[in-house]
Amino acid sequence: MSEKKRVGVQNYRFIELEPTPTTAWGKFKRVLKRSVKLELFVGLKVTFREMFKALFMGEMHTVKYPLEKLPISPRYRAIHEMKRLLESGHYRCIGCGLCEKICISDCIRMDTRYDENQRKEVVEYTINFGRCIFCGYCAEVCPELAITHGGRYETASEQRASFSLFEDMLTPIDKLKEQKEYPGFGAISPNADENIKKTPLAY
């Protein structure tokens, strides 16, 4: 009936439909054909089969959400995580402020100071998740791979502004071994080594 069109490269199939009958006889024939062929019961069969599968063959689709959660893609961009250095356990953030600068919803703020070891110390760091749009720019711009997105997607809060502090997002020190590198936005590309020109060393 319809022309076969190329729709993408997916495996679409066009179903050949019979023309709609126009004469009374034609219509009657169609009713008869459908009734005799018991097409209606095919529908009943399908639904019953699905019920059977769901109940007895463990093919239930529902996930009992708060109790069980679907595994989420490791590249999912939800609530931020602050990573630690694997060897020393010290947090990676150096307080450069690039995330603060690039944040298009202006939700990141940090206070830094000159600490006793002559290093830049992050005194306080907040992300206002009431404003964050999870664009991932902060993770992309971070030179230390310190701020990344994580899998905690439950961001609902009782107030419009919901601030998350540095300590809340930081990998707990006892879970350092479970810390995984984030493969998504801002991560080192797999072929990074090929793109870098090596600097000579004198020692």
């Binding site: 209606l40 399908v46 699905e50 239930m60 689709h61 009992k64």
Partner: protein
């Protein structure tokens, strides 16, 4: 005589309570079955397997604001749901629900009133049920409600005809309008079931039964996609709940009628005692309604009319003629 009145009252109250509860349970079952057929879980949070969801919904319905639109005819608006619920229950008065049994030494006939025109009464009462949606839709001053009530009138009146004609043939065979007589007629076992003699009548009755109870594929009265909620658009809270109870009670009534008229009623089925047998049969019909809702799309209003007047009614008349001819011969 006093005992008869007290017994009747007790029976009426029991039926009212049990069927109301069953209507609620019916909603639970419907949600559950539909969910399973779509491979979902359905309600499962409240209580074990979500059983207390009925209670939660009940509480919700009770506590919801009883809203009456400003331009509505208040009295009719308030009465309409009651008509639906009441007629649904009244219809059940002439339906024998279970076989006779003895409890505390008293012989109980689980029928409120064994009228000799029982079947006619039931059909009549269900016909009166038409007034509920009709008045509700016209009283609420709402376009969708009005459309809903118009559809109600058309659909119920039309299919009333088919219902009546389709069971005329079994009535001719049994020679009685009492449903107990129908039951007794089929006492001989499965082979005596009227369905074998009147398969066409059975199918016609079932189809028109769906139409009368406003079930898929004939759920045009409150078709959400077209007319919001039809006659129930402006209803909320308990009044809306009464429409619901009426609908589910009607579903059970149809189930009983179909079992009693065509499928051997509460006669024992082999080793299965009669009481269990009829419950199984009614349950099957209830399930079938849900199943069909899960499987089939509904039809257009014009197709509804076409089906009624051009297909079902001629077939019903034909069936009566053939039955009559066969009986005469």
């Amino acid at each position: 005589m006093d005992g008869y009145i007290i017994g009747t009252i007790i029976k009426a109250v029991l039926i009212l309570l049990i069927l109301s509860a069953l209507a609620g349970f019916g909603t639970y079952l419907e949600r559950k079955v539909l969910a399973f057929m779509q491979r979902r879980l359905g309600p499962y949070h409240v209580g074990p397997y979500g059983l207390l969801q009925i209670l939660a919904d009940g509480i919700k319905l009770f506590t919801k604001e009883d809203f009456i639109p400003a331009g509505a005819n208040r009295i009719i608006f308030m009465i309409a749901p009651a008509i639906t619920a009441a007629t649904a229950f009244i219809a059940l008065a002439a339906v024998p629900l279970l076989p006779e049994f003895t409890i505390f030494g008293i012989k109980v006939r689980p029928i409120v009133s064994d009228l000799n025109i029982g079947l006619l009464f039931v059909i009549a009462m269900m016909g009166v049920g038409l007034y509920g949606p009709l008045l509700a839709g016209m009283a609420q001053e709402n376009k969708w409600g009005l459309l809903g009530s118009a559809r109600t009138a058309v659909q119920f009146l039309s299919y009333e005809v088919v219902t009546g004609l389709s069971i005329l043939a079994p009535i001719m065979m049994v020679g009685s309008l009492s449903l107990i007589d129908f039951n007794n007629y089929q006492a001989g076992g499965i082979s005596h079931w009227i369905i074998w003699k009147q398969p066409l009548a059975f199918i016609l009755f079932l189809i028109s039964g769906y139409a009368e109870t406003n079930r898929t594929p004939f759920d045009l009265l409150e078709h959400e996609a077209e007319i919001i909620s039809g006659y129930a658009t402006e209803y909320s809270g308990l009044r809306w709940g009464m429409f619901f109870i009426g609908e589910y009670t009607n579903m059970i009534t149809i189930g009983f009628l179909a079992s009693l008229i065509f499928l051997g009623g509460f006669n024992p089925l082999g080793f299965i005692p009669g009481g269990i047998a009829i419950i199984l049969k009614v349950s099957f019909f209830f399930f079938l309604m849900l199943w069909i809702r899960a499987a089939w799309p509904h039809i257009r209003p014009d197709q509804l009319m076409w089906l009624c007047w051009k297909v079902l009614m001629p077939l019903a008349v034909l069936n009566i003629l053939i039955t009559g001819i066969v009986m005469m011969v």
